[in-house]
Subunit: 226 residues, 2 copies
């Protein structure tokens, strides 16, 4: 369903820094892939390339047969809206909208009616344990609560592919495991594809494959049960 | 050295939410205290009260005999600058300053010469593994790299008290343990007092005491070896 073909992303600050260096990765429909690796190894950069939030200097990304290099910015945004749910490493919630409104927004953009969107948003927020905080603004929520709102916003539209960047980084171990369990449940029951970046070694038991990054390259790929 | 006496902090959004509810905590000079507890249990709020970044509705905080309730905003800021190093949960780095400049700033405010401040800042950034990123702006760093800059900024002035909010939340397990080890080393060699909020259970082995928060209250206090 989603494939990176020899993608490279570098920055030029005096010297050239290769955040992602000649990476190829093919993700099957319905798969749950964990991406791990040291801080600064290129995980976030790779995830942004897979979501079309950033463009590679060379190589290409293909989602359901569509090549990102052939799409305009608008085309990429439309593809993302229809097929991808993204959880940013630092949430990117809209500060002046409540938790509920932040989750309703992508549903309304996808054409859902206001009443249906609120109902779906409320139910996903309750699933992540925030039923009692739905009318709070992001600034009135703790770090972990904001993170769970960001997760709810990505899951609510039931996207074909969920790309999540450290979704449990600010959660205590119970809430973190509960969230990973929720991903696995959605992955298995709805067949949605998950690519999750995490430093949490416990997530390995939820994944079909574990991709280990190092210095912008894929260093190792481990298959579960393999 | 640092004492919270029956502090309460609540928010009124229709209902009253007690983020911190009648909490008393005395921290000895040179102690290493870990604060843990579920997401939303009041850890960040308590740390902000201890740093004078937020004022309690009732109760008081006392640092080295000085009552926060007697101090003006300027007085609190001066006390913070002289005695406290703070690591924010989401870093609060100055976006248009490089990593080096972000760490130099508190040193210059403390009266250090430009050359000395740069030397000290460079050495602390190297200690946290960022010698190769000192001229990057926060937007040109990964999540974990930004977090390490925030830690370096808090440690550089060698403050009497270090208050750190999830300092390893965005780090891989090696970098996280290395940072916790650095805190412990500074705590034991320089006698600086540490209060660290973390969900990472491995930090318990570094702490003298573990304070467990729940629903705004202290639920449990465990002493190491106790
Ligand atoms: N400005 C605010 N208005 C209303 N409620 C707030 C506000 N700030 C925080 N809260 C609430 O106070 C509670 C405590 O928040 P706090 O940030 O201290 O939690 P925390 O223990 O640090 O959680 P985390 O581990 O998720 O960072 C939360 O339930 C939060 O919703
Ligand atoms: N705009 C930029 N300019 C220069 N270098 C950058 C820029 N953005 C990222 N980098 C560098 O690219 C490398 C990869 O960054 P990336 O954010 O992908 O790492 P990561 O694996 O997500 O790390 P973390 O676990 O700390 O979040 C880092 O070393 C970082 O310093
Ligand atoms: Mg990252
Ligand atoms: Mg917090």
């Amino acid at each position: 369903i989603l494939r990176a073909v020899s993608v490279t992303r570098a920055y030029h600050l005096g010297e050239t820094i290769y955040a992602v260096h000649d990476v190829s990765l093919a993700i099957d429909r319905g798969e749950f892939v964990l991406v791990t690796g040291p801080s600064g190894s290129g995980k976030t950069t790779l995830l942004h390339l897979l979501a079309g939030l950033d463009r590679p200097m060379s190589g290409d990304v293909i989602l359901d047969g569509t090549r990102y290099s052939r799409l305009s910015e608008n085309g990429l945004a439309k593809l993302r809206r229809e097929k991808i749910g993204f959880v940013f490493q630092f949430f990117n919630l809209i500060p002046h909208l409540t938790a509920l409104e932040n989750v309703v927004l992508p549903l309304r953009l996808a054409g859902m009616s206001p009443a249906q969107a609120r109902e779906r948003a409320r139910s996903v927020l309750e699933t992540v344990g925030l039923g009692h905080r739905i009318n709070h603004l992001p600034g009135q929520l703790s770090g972990g609560e904001q993170q769970r709102v960001a997760v709810a916003r990505a899951l609510a539209p039931r996207p074909a592919v969920v790309l999540a960047d450290e979704p449990t980084g600010n959660l205590d171990s119970n809430a973190g495991l509960a969230l990973a369990g929720l991903f696995r449940k959605v992955n298995q029951e709805q067949g949605q594809t998950f690519v999750v970046v995490s430093h949490d070694p416990r997530l390995e038991e939820f994944a079909d494959r574990v991709v280990v990054m190092g210095d912008g390259r894929i260093q190792d790929v481990r298959v579960r049960g393999g």
